[in-house]
């Protein structure tokens, strides 16, 4: 069975649908990269899949509690140390080992540093290390490599590959190259929602358009 199956999905933002008719499946060991111009609706689609907002139309099939979501904001607390931040999420998700996650993203040396004293790229690495401690099979990542330098992008690709090899899957939106040649790519441009009266308006803006 596939980890995630999306059927004819329409997702809306600001009361207007952004993309519609999107379908794909994602099996264990697979990675899918979403592409498309600014504002097409990548972020919106990912938030639907993560369960943060309801789909306007269509179905999303997956096991409950299988998604780990990571967006631009990393959910880090500046006053807590790197380890404390990670341990918190590990305990919330009841997931994996903090030490392993630190090692995977090369954060061991910074383990006792408060998150406030990390640079943008180091923060991002900590945000990605968080994925490992969730223990969730399906990673949903929105522009995961923003502000990472080349070496860290490498490390991120390795992280994803390990995850895939372990039976996980990853759904990612990005504008740039992630260094994951084996990943499938889905361009959202053809799915841009066409304005026009729809049976079920996505929100106020569409209901009164």
């Amino acid at each position: 069975m596939s980890l995630l199956a999306v059927h004819e999905l329409a997702a809306a933002r600001g009361g207007i649908r952004a993309v519609e008719g999107v379908s794909f499946t994602l099996d264990a060991g697979e990675a899918l990269i979403l592409r498309g111009p600014n504002g097409i609706g990548k972020t919106t689609l990912l938030r639907c899949v993560a369960g943060l907002q309801p789909a306007v139309e269509g179905r999303i099939e997956m096991a409950g509690d299988s998604v780990a979501y990571a967006a631009h904001a990393d959910g880090l607390k500046a006053a807590l140390t790197v380890t404390e931040n990670l341990r918190f999420w590990a305990q919330i998700f009841g997931g994996g080992s903090v030490e392993q996650a630190l090692a995977a993203m090369d954060l061991t040396a910074l383990a006792d540093r408060p998150a406030a004293a990390l640079s943008a790229g180091q923060k991002r690495r900590l945000g990605l290390a968080r994925l490992m401690v969730t223990g969730r099979p399906l990673w949903v990542l929105d522009e995961p490599t923003v502000s990472l330098d080349a070496a860290s992008v490498e490390r991120f690709a390795a992280l994803v590959r390990t995850h895939l090899a372990g039976g996980g899957a990853a759904l990612m939106a990005t504008h740039i190259d992630l260094g994951l040649q084996e990943a499938r790519v889905l361009d959202l441009t053809p799915y841009r929602a066409r304005p026009g009266r729809s049976r079920r308006p996505a929100g106020f803006n569409e209901a009164f358009a």
Partner: protein
């Protein structure tokens, strides 16, 4: 050698480290001695044993005001001459001043119970101290809220300046507001000059002790702040590299 050289953190650490042990001994002797001597003084014919409270109350009240003045001077030095250590010294002094204010308030309140039959009266002097406590709290809260050290030093400095003006203004406003209930007479049952020698010498010792204790605490706390700043500075530099 100019006095400004002590604004150099390295120099400050060295000199303060050298004098601290002696200061600690002197402060311990004077404070403990003054308080103990005061505690052992005979009873006053009018106030009974409560007169012993004066050896805590008056030095604390004195220091509460003096420490604010010291913070004001340190802030001015920072704002005008940009000596980093003096900004940190102002920061270090504030919690000590707040504690002194608290001691003055607490001993006064406890004293007021037998003397005036009430824990608290909105007497101008008492009220002014409450207001002073508010200024200390605001100053400390602002320091701890701002992350960037340079902005924090500048902004707390400006606050200290404006706050001093308004603390003074509040003192006059409070006098105006509650002159009807002024408790001046009962407050100065034993004014400094007319105080008998049995009380005067332990009081002097205790006042000296509180002053030395303050110096010790400010030096220690400034050293703490310098070390914290140094750690943060090293981390910031490494982060940028």
């Amino acid at each position: 050698m100019s006095i400004w050289e002590y604004a150099n953190p390295v120099k400050f650490m060295r000199v303060s480290g050298a004098v601290l042990p002696w200061l600690v001994i002197a402060a311990a002797v004077c404070t403990i001695g003054g308080i103990a001597w005061g505690f052992l003084t005979p009873e006053d014919y009018k106030q009974g044993s409560t007169v012993k409270i004066v050896f805590l109350h008056v030095p604390a009240a004195m220091m509460a005001i003096n420490i604010w003045v010291m913070m004001l001077i340190a802030s001015l030095i920072w704002l005008i001459r940009r000596h980093h250590v003096s900004a940190l010294a102002a920061k270090a002094a504030a919690p000590v001043g707040a504690v002194m204010t608290l001691i003055a308030l607490a001993t006064g309140a406890i004293w007021g119970q037998p003397m005036w039959g009430t824990w608290w009266e909105w007497d101008p002097r008492l009220t002014s101290f409450l207001i002073l406590l508010l200024f200390y709290i605001g100053y400390i809260a602002l320091w701890s809220a701002i992350e960037d050290a340079d902005s924090a030093a500048d902004l707390t400095g400006v606050l200290c300046l404006v706050g001093s003006v308004f603390a003074l203004l509040s003192r006059y406003a409070v006098l105006f507001w509650n002159q009807g209930l002024h408790q001046g007479a009962s407050l100065s049952v034993a004014p400094g000059e007319r105080m008998s020698e049995v009380y005067r010498y332990p009081l002097y010792l205790s006042m000296l002790g509180f002053l030395l204790l303050f110096l010790v605490l400010v030096l220690v706390r400034t050293r703490t702040e310098i070390r914290r700043r140094r750690l943060a500075a090293l981390q910031a530099r490494e982060m940028r590299a």
